[in-house]
Each structure stands twice: as structure tokens, then as C-alpha cells.
Amino acid sequence: MFKGIMGLLAGAWALAEPAAGQTQPETQQIRAAVLRVDVQGLPPISRLDLPPEDLGFAGARLAIDDNDTTGRFMGQDFEAVEVTATPGTALAELDRIIADGIQFVVVLADDATTLALADQAGDRAMLLNARARGDRLRGADCRFNTIHVAPSHAMLADALAQFLMWKNWPDWLLVPGSHPEDQALAAAYRRAAAKFGATIVEERVYEDTGGARSTDSGYVQVQAQMPVFTQRAPDHDVLIAADESDVFAPYLPYLTWDPRPVAGSAGLVPRSWHPAMEAWGATQYQNRFERMANRPIREEDYQTWLALRIVGEAATRTGSADPAELRDFILSDQFDVAGFKGQKLTVRDWDHQVRQPILLTTGPVTTSVSPQDQYLHQTSALDTLGLDRPETECSFREAP
């Protein structure tokens, strides 16, 4: 079906040629790779969150379809090679990709691996980070060759903070997990509280004591543990869980000692994308994805799609397939891309983070989208989310 349409489009393009009085240029090839670094770990708390085999890759396939549809009219052909690796093999796989002549690599990995890959690539390739959320990766550890398509912890925390302040819920009980990445996320919430005038009434760490995720008696112990864990907290409006490691947050709603809503890693969750998002033309995007992948979309798919659309958009606008030219255009103030979020998405020049609205979701629906209207900014309302130019700890060592 799709092939047939493509054939017709190509025919239509050829028809247009005589009118324009040009000869058909040679088709330009724009190549990219998607490198997904999988870590063996415990299964997620909920089976609904089990990662599909094609996580991220499905988003890449949709992006290539979208890029190619425009490409047929422009004489451009897009490709994304799909590579899986472990933290041990990731650097070698990256070298192989670069040796194959590819200079745009979408990376789905944790913070440490993403940083190692950036340093391995050096000036040989541009990385597009489609998973890692750490603020350090965009701050002290920033690299010129990395564009962060995934939103940062700071952006997600600020997005939630703006909504909670609008809701007039300024007193927060912060519950971080015990892993370093949980602590990093908690730091983002502390920062957001200071930035928007919220008060963290207490911080209570939830220790990960290990063990299996699912047991035959299921909820019984959890139902007893969670109320006890959250009792005798100072007065608060909302509990914020900072559980990047997926250890406890989904158990909190309805099991807190005090009847308070949960936000952060469970309850009202800030996200880059959600499979029920329907505004701004997203319905058609969701339908296209679901028809192709036979499953609802994940954030990793959206972020990978957006990363490859960024490359595709640059190729369309410049009419070029030269990676250096595309990179320079993406990083210039001329660049923007549409991502079904109601406004153009651009790249911050101080840390190469993609500016984007953040969805606040509760289970099946989008509850709100930040930035909230009340928060103003002198250049872009999107810069009320995350680390703004004056705050950044990023300084690119060299701009090649």
C-alpha cells in the first residue's frame, strides 16, 4: 500500500520536472544510525512497561518513512541503520557505524554510556541523545558533538513544578530512591522548588533493598509497607517521587498515609510524549505509528523519531546531504522542526538541548502541558523549563 503511494508520488514529482525546466538531480543519500545500548536488569514494576523489542527502532522507522515522503519530492533518500549493543560493546559498535561512513548517530543509552560514546565519536560524528536525561550531561559533562533530544531532568522537574504552583500546591514531600540517578533527579526537584517558590517540607529516601519485582502474593506486603513508609510527614500538598530506577513510585498512589496526590515518577508524570496525546495533529501521528508498529508509542520512540526528523528537516531545508552542512544548520538559529507539540522545536546554543513543551500525564490522558501560560520569559517560554543560558554549567571546549 505504502510502496504503491510512494511510486505514485515519485511519478508526480517526475511530472513536475518539465514545468520547472530542470533535469532530475541524482538522489542524495542521507544516512544515520540508531544505537541502542541495552542494560540487563530487573523487569519493570508493571508488565505494561516491559520494553518492546523494537523500542526506539519503531520510532526510527516512522521517521524514515516521513523523511522519505518529503525526500521523494526533493530527490533525497533517508536511511537509519539499527544497532543494539551492551555497555561493553557500545564503543566498538559506534566505531563500526562511523567506519561505515555514517555521521549522525541516535543514541539510546544511560548517561554514562552516552558520555563515553560522545567522547569516542569526537569530531567524527554527531550524536543525538534520545534517552539519557541527566543534567550533568548537559552541564559540566556537555559535549559539542551531542544534541539532546530527550528532555533533561531539570526540564521535567520544572514542567511539573510550574503546574503544581499554578495548582497552588507549593508544599512538597520529596521521596527520592537510593540510587545515584534517583538522587540526580531529586536534585532537579530541589532546584525546581527553589526556582518556582515551592517548599520541600521533608526528604525521605526510599531504600532499594533489592529482591524480585513480582511475587505470587503480589500487593499484600506493598499495601502494608507504603502507608507506614509515608506516615508522620509534615503537612504537604503533594508527594513527589524521584524514582528514576523504577523501584517504588508506582506503588505510592492511594497507599500514602495522608490522602495526598502523587507526582513525579508516578501519578502526575512529566514526559516528552504519551501515546494518548491528541492535540496539535498528534492523532494522525499516533495512528501512523500504531499502524506501523502494532503497539502504542513510547517516549524512546518519539525521541528517536524526533532526532531523525531533525536530520531530515535539515536535509530538506538545506537541500544538502553533507553531514557538516546539516550539523551547522541544525545548530544555527535558522533551524526549527515541528514535533506535534504546538510550536516549533529548536536547539539551545548553550548546551544543545532541544527546547520542547513537556506533557504532564496521569495514566491514560494528558492533564496539562508545560510551560504554563503564567510563566514568562524574555526570549522563549520554553526556556522557563530546564537550565537557562545564565545558569548553564556547560562550556563547549572547542567548537570544531
Binding site: I5, L8, L9, A12, W13, L15, A16, A19, A20, D66, T69, T70, F73, M74, G281, T283, Q284, Y285, N287, R288, E313, T316, D336, V337, A338, G342, Q343, K344, L376, H377, S380, A381, L382
Partner: protein, 322 residues
């Protein structure tokens, strides 16, 4: 409701203004109905259920048939504009959003947003004449005044596709800025205006060469640039004024049709998308989706005269011909 309708023509006759009152039809996307207004008194004559998720709306040149894209019903519903009774339906292809009627009144060219197609439907025989593959997410539909070229804009491919109205073949593609939403010719067919919602621009295209001759940009003091999102475009029949609805900036831009320079910004309701003139072009109506109202602009004085509450999330608008 029935007797309000019966009274309406009488009221129009009694009105002091000699201008003929016309019915204004507004689709309410969330309300699943059409609000009917009197263009003279701005009185709400009624609200009528029209199917699920009504968006695009058009009326036949003789004023006898009202066409509504019922997006979630995957068809076009046809109503008697006088009684608002459903006459029949037309096949539309999946998820019809916007359409354009041939100047002769037939056929109807429909953008199927979910299927990368433009569907051509004969409004008399109710037959699908053609399905034309276009770019990703077709939305805006325009037609040249001579009826020979149909324009479709595809929102994710970011192009205006020029389609031969006879052969249904794409004859040219013009790359515009991000998320093109609407295409509108001026009345002598010498210019084509294509709005880009995310790009924030309106491209002025020379239809003869299919080249962009100018990009209109917008700047409203005190409004963040990302809120300026051009959608609907309307041009007066003398070509002297172009109106562009600027979405969540809550403004309509007034553009000099000779120079294509912005003259003014008019504050209307929230998230203004589509617009329609009265037949005498004295007034322009705008749909303000997030404030549930329509604004009426006086075209000569370029002032917003009044706003009228309609249904939930007004989307499209059309005014009956004289």
C-alpha cells in the same frame, strides 16, 4: 427552536439595515454541532447536531446545500441550510478535516488527514471520482479561481501540492515552512497564500512559476513568537486586503494585498483558526476555538466589532451566499 427559526427571516426583513442578512454557520468541534447566526443581528438562531467532530464547512454557490466534515464519522454530512435537516451524506475517505468546493459547485476536494490522500467526490452522484496520494497529513485545500488547479498542503511534508483538477495529477510541489495549514488564492489567481502554523509564516507563491515570491512574517509586541501560528487566510475579492488568523496569539493580521506587508493586528478571541466573509465583504467572522466564540471584524475599518458566544470549540465557519 423551530419557531425561532421561523421568526428569523421576518426579523431580517424588519431590520433597518438594508444589507441582506445572511446565515453564518459555525462548526463546534467539541460540541458536535453547528451554531447558526444571523450576520446582521448576530442573534444565535439555533444550534444543530451535525455528527461527530465537525470541522471543515462549506456551502454550495446557490446556497442550497451545506457541507460539513464530520471527522470522526469519516464522512461529509450534507444539510439543508434553511432547516438544518440532514439531506444525505457523501463518502469522504477517512478523517476528513478540510475541503474545498469547485467554484462551479461540484466536485468537492477533501483532505484525508489520516491517510495521505485527497479524495474527490461528486456532490450530485455522491461518487468518489478520485483518490490522490499526497504528502504526510494533508490538511489545507485551495482552488484557483478558474477551477483548474487544486492546492493541498501536507502538514508533515511541509509542501503545497499543485493538483490538476481535471487529471487529478500532481503537477508541482512547493516546499513551505513547517506545518502548512491553509491555502488561499487571491481572486484573479495571481497569488497563492499558504500559511505555516509552526513556521509562523505565510508564503506568497506565484502560481504561474510555483515560486515563493515573499514570506510574510509576524511580530506582535508582548506576544511570544511561538504563539504566533498562522492558520486561516482570506483575501478580499479586490485583492486589497488579506486577513490571516494567528492561532494562540489571539490576533488576526491585516495585510496589504498589494505589498503583502502587515498593516495591523486585531485582537479577537482565543486560538483563532478559520474565517469567512459575508458575501458583501463588509464583515469577516473568525472562529476562536479556546474561548468558544466568534469575532466579527468590520473589513473596511479593520476593527473588531463584536464577539458572539457559540458552541464548544468553534472550528470552521461559512456564510450563506445572497
Amino acid at each position: 427552536m423551530k419557531h425561532i427559526l421561523a421568526l428569523a427571516p421576518a426579523l431580517a426583513v424588519l431590520a433597518a439595515d438594508p444589507a441582506l442578512a445572511n446565515r453564518v454557520f459555525v462548526t463546534n468541534e467539541k460540541g458536535n454541532d453547528v451554531t447558526v447566526l444571523d450576520s446582521d443581528t448576530l442573534e444565535v438562531l439555533g444550534a444543530y447536531p451535525v455528527g461527530n467532530r465537525p470541522r471543515g464547512i462549506a456551502i454550495s454557490p446557490d446556497g442550497t446545500e451545506l457541507y460539513v466534515c464530520a471527522s470522526d464519522d469519516n464522512l461529509v454530512r450534507v444539510f439543508d441550510p434553511e432547516t438544518m435537516e440532514e439531506l444525505h451524506t457523501l463518502p469522504s475517505g477517512p478523517d476528513p478535516e478540510l475541503f474545498v468546493l469547485h467554484p462551479s459547485g461540484n466536485p468537492l476536494y477533501i483532505a484525508n488527514e489520516d491517510d495521505n490522500l485527497v479524495t474527490v467526490v461528486d456532490v450530485k452522484t455522491k461518487q468518489v471520482l478520485a483518490e490522490i496520494p499526497v504528502g504526510v497529513e494533508p490538511e489545507g485545500m485551495g482552488i484557483s479561481p478558474d477551477g483548474r488547479i487544486v492546492i493541498n498542503t501536507s502538514e508533515t511534508t511541509n509542501m503545497a501540492h499543485f493538483i490538476d483538477a481535471e487529471t487529478y495529477e500532481i503537477v508541482a510541489n512547493v516546499l513551505v515552512d513547517s506545518r502548512p495549514r491553509f491555502a488561499e488564492y487571491n481572486h484573479d489567481g495571481t497569488k497563492l497564500y499558504v500559511s505555516a502554523e509552526i513556521g509562523g509564516t505565510v508564503s506568497v507563491i506565484d502560481p504561474a512559476t510555483q515560486e515563493i515570491t515573499k514570506k510574510i512574517t509576524f511580530e506582535v509586541p508582548g506576544v511570544l513568537p511561538e504563539a504566533i501560528q498562522p492558520v486561516g487566510v482570506r483575501v478580499t475579492s479586490d485583492g486589497s486586503k488579506v486577513f490571516v488568523a494567528l492561532g494562540p496569539s489571539n490576533r488576526v493580521a491585516v495585510i496589504d494585498g498589494a505589498t503583502d506587508e502587515v498593516k495591523d493586528y486585531l485582537l479577537v478571541g482565543q486560538r483563532v483558526w478559520q474565517m469567512a466573509f459575508t458575501p458583501d465583504e463588509k464583515y469577516l467572522f473568525t472562529t476562536n476555538g479556546n474561548s468558544n466564540d466568534v469575532s466579527m471584524i468590520d473589513v473596511a475599518s479593520e476593527e473588531v466589532v463584536k464577539s458572539v458566544p457559540v458552541g464548544q470549540q468553534p472550528w470552521g465557519v461559512v456564510v450563506a451566499p445572497d
